[in-house]
């Protein structure tokens, strides 16, 4: 039996081989490697031979009792929530306006230009932010000074840093985020609009009573799925933009894991925090997907 299967399908298994090796080495071995969260890891002994931590939850306890715990969790959740709200509403509004735009070339131009920032790396956006907001060379501060105010360190102040994070993310993804809502709007039955027009509805009423209800399920679905990633506040962006002055408001679980693990070589403590994050993240994703399923469709 097994032999006939093999004879018939072996080319497919050969094709799968490189990919399976990739998943085993770079995705599944690291999951096994998480045991170092329960060990006193030393580079010399390696993952297998390092001694077990005593008690086994030592590193988790250290983290839980450390002053970072509250701060990291608060920063992670707050930044994530701000991004959730600001990453949802503006793209919907842009999609609504694009959908109402009757001049085709204007629509194309606006789409092309607003999608573009999505392809710029965070390093590039960091450069743009320096050009706009840095205290000495930034154009915004020069305007403020010219208007008689005094310059403000937007990029290094704990008061403004989260706004910089959220604002730059909105700038990067405004147009890109609108694509999916536009697609949903394209799927709305046009006869609904005709019927409404016959009944004397204005443009605004049609948006309110037809377009928005028409994309409601997509909005809810995306929102729920994003909720599943509440602990991913955006490592890439924060790591590239932050600086030591704003750690109190910007340091999140992921950036802390990076600094503690790879920079201070405290591998076990860092993996304990990483495991904590992965487990809660998994629970959130599964929960979000279950709720999303109830709304029609999950991701799998």
């Amino acid at each position: 039996m097994a032999l006939t299967v093999l004879r018939k399908y072996w080319p497919f298994y050969v094709m799968l081989l490189p990919g399976v090796l990739f998943y085993l080495i770079f995705r599944y071995f690291p999951m096994y490697g998480m045991v170092i969260a329960f060990k006193d890891f030393s580079m010399m002994d390696g993952i297998l031979h390092s001694p077990w931590a005593n008690p086994w939850y030592k590193h988790f306890e250290t983290f839980y009792q450390s002053p970072y715990f509250g701060e990291l969790l608060r920063n992670t959740l707050l930044i994530s929530l701000y991004k959730l709200v600001w990453g949802t509403i503006p793209p919907i509004l842009l999609a609504l306006l694009l959908n109402e735009c009757r001049i085709r070339w204007l629509r194309t131009v606006v789409q092309t230009l607003t999608y573009m920032p999505h392809f710029l790396s965070w390093v590039i956006i960091f450069g743009i932010l320096i050009a706009l907001f840095s205290q000495n060379g930034g154009i915004v501060n020069r305007w403020i000074v010219e208007a008689g105010g005094s310059s403000f360190p937007f990029l290094t102040s704990t008061q403004t840093f989260r706004s910089v994070l959220v604002g730059s993310e909105v700038w990067q993804n405004l147009g890109w985020g609108a694509i999916i809502y536009l697609a949903a709007m394209a799927g709305i039955d046009p006869t609904l609009y005709e019927a409404a027009r016959v009944d004397g509805a204005g443009r605004f009423r049609m948006i309110w009573h037809i377009t928005i209800p028409g994309i409601r399920s997509v909005i809810v679905l995306l929102f729920i799925l994003k909720l599943g990633h509440l602990l991913d506040a955006g490592f890439d962006q924060i790591y590239i933009l932050y600086n030591i002055q704003v750690y109190p408001v910007a340091d999140i679980l992921d950036t802390w894991v990076y600094r503690t693990g790879l920079q201070q070589l405290n591998f076990s403590l860092a993996s304990a925090v990483g495991l904590f994050k992965s487990l809660i993240g998994m629970a959130l994703v599964l929960f979000a997907n279950n709720v999303a399923k109830r709304w029609g469709e999950g991701i799998w």
């Binding site: 399908y9 080319p11 497919f12 298994y13 094709m15 799968l16 490189p18 990919g19 399976v20 990739f22 998943y23 080495i25 770079f26 995705r27 690291p30 096994y32 490697g33 998480m34 390696g46 629509r107 606006v110 230009l113 607003t114 573009m116 920032p117 392809f119 790396s121 965070w122 390093v123 590039i124 960091f126 450069g127 743009i128 320096i130 050009a131 840095s134 060379g137 154009i139 020069r142 305007w143 405004l174 147009g175 694509i179 999916i180 697609a183 204005g202 443009r203 890439d236 790591y239 590239i240 600086n243 992921d254 894991v257 693990g261 790879l262 990483g274 993240g281 994703v285 599964l286 991701i299």
Partner: protein, 286 residues
């Protein structure tokens, strides 16, 4: 009549906001371009608000291209982009094609293996230890292999393959073609749209490569563009207090930003439609 006026006002509002959004997206980029090619004295005289510079100088670019390690980093980035994208596409395709054959025994297990990595991961530290123990630290491959396959792209490609007509495979088999030949000579040419979209996603990913390098590479000659550009940006952040020093630096910084983003900005308008298609493909099928 009132209706017509209301409609026109509404249109004006829509167009105004859309134009504003477009300007908001493009203005910062244009400003960076302008700072990078304007002599700094000029920037100061005009209060820094120049979109079309009167005096153009490419001295900042010249300095960067001759007196920094930017050219070396550029070479590395081109290398990992070309090699990396090729590796990505081959591995993703080889993974996706068998999984699109519905009668393949064990298909569900392989799919589960992929989907599970979407919801749970080993995290940074254990991954680092694995990359280290397979000896990739400080090599080009450290920036290619650990992310050789994006699970989501496998799923997109798989559903594209599933859409190909079954008769195609049957007739090819009757004509005596073996599976590898079917994949490379029949399936691949028919899959150009999905290969283009996914290839472009991988391509941009590699061009913007930053973190694999930060994690796994310490050899400065292997640093890609984004890492070097961030260093250039950080350097003068530190000298911020020293205002005299800032003058030439900002021009240099913005020139570095332009060198790292120019390829994306130039190519982008031509390939934009593929991305949009790919995004929809992903969101509908994913």
């Amino acid at each position: 009549m009132v209706k017509g006026l209301e409609d026109r006002l509404f249109n004006v509002f829509v167009y105004a906001v859309l134009v504003f959004c477009a300007l908001l997206a493009i203005f910062p980029i244009l400003y960076v371009v302008s700072v990078s090619i304007t002599p700094f004295g000029e920037v100061l005289r005009n209060g820094g608000f120049i979109l079309i510079p009167r005096d153009v100088t490419f001295s900042a670019y010249k300095t960067l291209l001759t007196q920094s390690n930017l050219p070396q980093a550029f070479k590395i980035t081109v290398l990992i982009t070309v090699v990396g994208t090729a590796v990505n596409l081959i591995l993703t395709g080889l993974m996706a094609y068998p999984l699109s054959r519905k009668n393949l025994p064990g298909r569900r297990i392989f799919l589960l293996m992929i989907v599970f990595t979407l919801i749970f991961s080993g995290g940074l530290i254990p991954t680092y230890l694995i990359v280290k123990s397979v000896g990739l630290i400080d090599s080009i491959w450290a920036m290619i292999l650990p992310n050789a396959i994006w699970s989501f792209n496998v799923l997109i490609m798989k559903s594209f393959f599933e859409g190909l007509p079954e008769e195609l495979f049957e007739s090819a088999r009757i004509d005596g073609a073996k599976e590898f030949r079917i994949l490379f000579q029949i399936v691949t040419p028919l899959s150009i749209p999905v290969i283009m979209t996914i290839g472009l996603f991988y391509l941009v990913g590699h061009w913007n490569e930053f973190f694999q390098a930060i994690f796994y590479v310490t050899d400065r000659t292997l640093f890609p563009l984004q890492v070097i550009v961030r260093e250039i940006l950080m350097q003068s952040q530190q000298t911020l207090e020293n205002a005299d020093n800032i003058t030439p630096t900002q021009t240099l910084q913005m020139a570095a930003v332009m060198i790292a983003s120019l390829p994306v900005l130039v190519v982008y308008p031509f390939i934009q439609k593929y991305f949009t298609k790919g995004m929809l493909l992903g969101s509908i099928k994913g």
